[in-house]
């Protein structure tokens, strides 16, 4: 954001750097896996994001994650009081399976959609947690109660300017305030002591007064031993997440529920943890409650902003707490997986191939699954922000993955491959790569000194992928893009859909084109999905199928223990036609499921 001239705050004398550096991150020597696994189960740590606590590394299976009779269960309830109340049928189904494989601790349970329980395939992600706790929480206000037409009401969104941030000095103070107020969505992070840490929009001058008010309101509730979670004023929803001396505030006039906004705030909090780790964050504030966190977070504003903008544009991945995979043949994916496993070096923790933000392959140790929230942070850093992509070359990045372990750093090797041309060569660094085109090899290790090993592993991978045609296959799949709804089902009435496989914690969607090409159209589609999602995930909702008809679209949401399906069709679509298409989608997904999802992933 600040460009080359970013001002390092002059308040901190640089000569003190030698003597008092910020607290060192935990040394990777302490970061062996054994300790990772034990440390995360420590229930006495300060309260943190509920999803993190429950979804941490020790969760070797989703069964564990979903189980509510775990020792720290009471704490989870305290942090997000409403999470138990998620729909009973889902709960019953999952707890059923918990007992089913309860004795198998070392492998990870997965179940394919449509009720085929396959015990020997494993899920790569632990994930249901986030969804359960985030979205079952209170959904009580009138946002979506005014009938199915409510999603038509944002015709007036001036979305083009949502992401512009004019300079105060140029536009003048009053104008700056007006611009600030015109934004549909804000994210503000401040310390409990009232110091501004981050804002998506507006300069310090613009937001300081608001930050003061926010801090006063939140802390007055704290004085009464109460926690302010959200309120609504004039059609604007305010949600507050209080975590380790931080207040994260989301302010939105887009159609979103509190729970949905809260998930976004949690992702921002995870980004902060990912920079600092929880112990460091706690330490900073325990030493000095008035700590200015901007300094230790310096340089990561762009990461927070790209996350925030992803949420403002509307992200299916965030909404569903799930990941998208690149659609390729099962046999092709197997070749890639096998190559990855064969190339593995001892220090490797996770290996990922990601094409255009979509997962191609994952290899992981048997005992560790991946938290979707962690992957979201990685994808954001690599594909949305420019820091790594534009720099060229290979990157070596210390990163804390809070879902995996929020107490220490892992080291991430990132290398982009240029997929253009017949022969994939290593990327010419000066070429800016579009997100959709870029393919990255991401290798994670707990060893700070692991660069050389991982670098040589990458070289081997590139060589092998070229030899066995995998690069060409990935390239072709990326080029082909997502299929249009009509490619999937000829003549379907559906304009778009989201299918989430709960067991795999992954989702599939067709291309946005031809019906949702522009940013505004997409935002409207995402608003509709948020609306549907909120309806079927509302507190006490027993709704399994939700059909809504509006002036601009007909929509259907269907939730079962296996999947969630959200469909959008034209407004005049009959219910029968819609139902027919939905069934065809399900059949297609069932047929293609090993292509559109990574089932289990490769384990070592």
């Amino acid at each position: 954001m600040d460009g080359n001239n970013a001002k390092a705050s002059p308040s901190t004398p640089p000569w003190s750097e030698e003597a008092e550096r910020p607290p060192l991150p935990p040394r990777p020597s302490e970061l062996n896996l054994m300790q990772l696994t034990t440390s995360t189960s420590n229930a006495s740590r300060p309260p943190t994001r509920a999803g993190l606590v429950s979804g941490a590394t020790t969760a070797v299976s989703m069964a564990d994650v979903n189980s509510y009779n775990r020792p720290d269960g009471s704490k989870e309830l305290r942090v997000t009081p409403s999470r138990v109340s998620s729909s009973p049928s889902i709960r019953a189904a999952t707890s059923n399976k918990t007992s089913e494989i309860g004795e198998d601790n070392s492998s990870i349970r997965s179940y394919a959609p449509f009720g085929r329980y396959i015990q020997d395939t494993e899920s790569i992600f632990d994930g249901e947690v986030q969804e359960d706790q985030g979205l079952s929480s209170s959904f009580s206000d009138g946002m979506f109660e005014d009938g199915p037409d409510s999603f038509d009401d944002e015709e007036d969104v001036d979305f083009d300017k949502e992401f512009d941030d004019p300079d105060d000095k140029i536009v003048g103070e009053e104008m700056a305030h007006n611009v600030w107020k015109s934004k549909r969505k804000h994210f503000i992070i401040l310390s409990a002591a009232g110091k501004p840490i981050y804002t998506r929009h507006g300069s310090d001058a613009v937001i300081s007064a608001y930050v003061g008010i926010i801090q006063t309101i939140i802390s007055s509730y704290l004085d009464w031993d109460d926690q302010l979670r959200s309120f609504r004023a004039g059609g604007v929803l305010f949600a507050v997440l209080s975590q380790s001396n931080l207040f994260l505030v989301g302010i939105t006039s887009l159609p979103e529920s509190e729970a949905q906004l809260r998930v976004q705030l949690e992702a921002l909090y995870m980004q902060i943890l990912s920079t600092l780790t929880l112990p460091t964050l706690t330490h900073l504030f325990s030493v000095r409650p008035s700590t200015d966190l901007r300094r230790p977070l310096e340089g990561t504003e762009v990461l927070l902003s790209s996350l925030a903008d992803t949420f403002t544009r509307g992200s299916p991945s965030t909404l569903l707490s799930a990941l998208e995979c690149l659609k390729i043949r099962k046999s092709h994916r197997n070749v890639i997986n096998t190559t990855m496993i064969r190339a593995r070096v001892d220090d490797l923790l996770y290996g990922l191939i990601v094409a255009g933000g979509r997962l191609v392959s994952v290899i992981r140790p048997k005992k560790h699954s991946l938290h979707p929230g962690d992957l979201q942070l990685i994808f954001n850093m690599i594909f949305e922000a420019e820091g790594i992509k534009a720099g060229g070359g290979d990157s070596w990045v210390p990163i804390c993955l809070p879902g995996f372990n929020n107490t220490g750093y892992l080291y991430m090797y990132v290398s982009f491959l240029d997929m253009r041309g017949d022969q994939a060569r290593e990327m010419a660094e000066n070429e800016r790569i579009a997100k959709e085109d870029s393919v990255a090899i991401i290798l994670l290790s707990a060893n700070k000194e692991g660069f050389e090993d991982l670098h040589s592993m990458k070289n081997y991978l590139v060589h092998e992928f070229r030899r066995n045609q995998s690069l060409r296959i990935i390239h072709a799949a990326v080029q082909a893009g997502r299929p249009a709804p009509t490619d999937i089902i000829a003549g379907t009435v559906l304009r778009h859909f989201l299918y989430k496989s709960k067991g795999n914690v992954q989702f599939f969607m067709p291309s946005y084109s031809p019906n949702f090409e522009t940013l505004k159209q997409r935002r409207r589609l995402m608003s509709l999905y948020h609306h549907l999602h909120a309806s079927v995930h509302a507190k006490h909702a027993a709704v399994k199928v939700h059909h809504s008809v509006g002036t601009s679209a007909t929509a259907l949401a269907w939730v079962t223990p296996m999947f969630e399906l959200y469909c959008v069709a034209s407004p005049s679509t009959s219910r029968n036609a819609l139902a027919q298409s939905v069934n065809k989608v399900l059949q297609w997904v069932q047929r293609e499921e090993e292509r559109i999802f990574i089932i289990g992933g490769a384990v070592f």
């Binding site: 210390p398 000194e449 081997y460």
Partner: protein, 254 residues
């Protein structure tokens, strides 16, 4: 990537690390050197980036293995990993920002204390494009920016000053410091490209011949490594690491 230079000249790898305060232009210097490109408002580097670039000297080819580190303080504790065994270091400061030179001095001191004894250090003042013409060449001009209206290099991003010259650190000051410490010294602009290639070729020339014993395939020898078995490869890599820690020798994998 692999050493394919068909030229008969011998080729040597040189590990080079860039250090300096955040936002002084380290990555931009590298980008200019490696790709002859410049990006306005480049986002901060996260962690560190590894790039390579070859330059040709009359007698040999030098392949730079460049570690471009992030300048934020929270990454400072990782720096030793990058300058360990480095044969060259670029310590970069921002000509328009006095604190960045202080920071640079700290890096120089740390390198002299802890890096390899023979390390070649270049002190580089970047963002010369933001400084008025005269002060770039004339040692004393910086202190008396008399030619006020000279808007030659317009400060696009630095704090604008009255006279269109954002220079805060005089050439003389930095140069005398560099001479005291035995550093190479340059003022550069990654934006315009001024002096960037010169820095790297000066470094290449300054590396003592004795420490250039042929190339070592570790970083670029991917194909080579790829041909051996995966399990062996890990071991080789480890051996490479260990060898390199001991001495900078020609454990050539080719």
């Amino acid at each position: 990537m692999a050493d394919q230079s068909s030229a008969p000249k011998p080729s040597s790898s040189v590990k080079l690390v860039l250090l300096g305060e955040a936002a002084v232009g380290k990555s931009s210097l590298v980008l200019r050197f490696v790709n002859n490109d410049f990006q306005e408002n480049k986002e901060p580097t996260i962690g560190a980036a590894f790039l390579t670039q070859k330059i040709s000297l009359p007698s040999r080819i030098i392949k730079f293995e460049i570690w471009d580190t992030a300048g934020q303080e929270r990454f400072a504790s990782l720096a030793p990993m990058y300058y360990r065994n480095a044969q060259a270091a670029l310590v970069v400061y921002d000509l328009t920002k006095p604190t960045s030179l202080i920071k640079a001095r700290h890096w120089v001191a740390e390198l002299q204390r802890q890096a390899s004894p023979g390390i070649v250090i270049a002190l580089v003042g970047n963002k010369l494009d933001l400084c008025a013409e005269s002060s770039g060449d004339n040692d004393s001009a910086a202190d008396s920016p008399a030619d006020a209206e000279e808007g030659g290099a317009e400060p696009g991003e630095a704090e604008p000053t009255d006279n269109g010259d954002a220079r805060k650190i005089s050439t003389r000051e930095a140069k005398s410091y560099a001479e005291e410490e035995g550093l190479l010294f340059f003022e550069t602009s990654a934006k315009t490209g001024t002096n960037v290639a010169d820095v790297f070729s000066a470094i290449a020339n300054a590396i003592p011949e004795t420490s250039l014993k042929g190339s070592r395939g570790a970083a670029g020898g991917g194909t080579q490594a790829a041909l051996s078995g995966a399990a062996n490869r890990a071991d080789e890599a480890r051996v490479n690491l260990a060898d390199r820690a001991k001495q900078k020798s020609d454990n050539c994998a080719c």
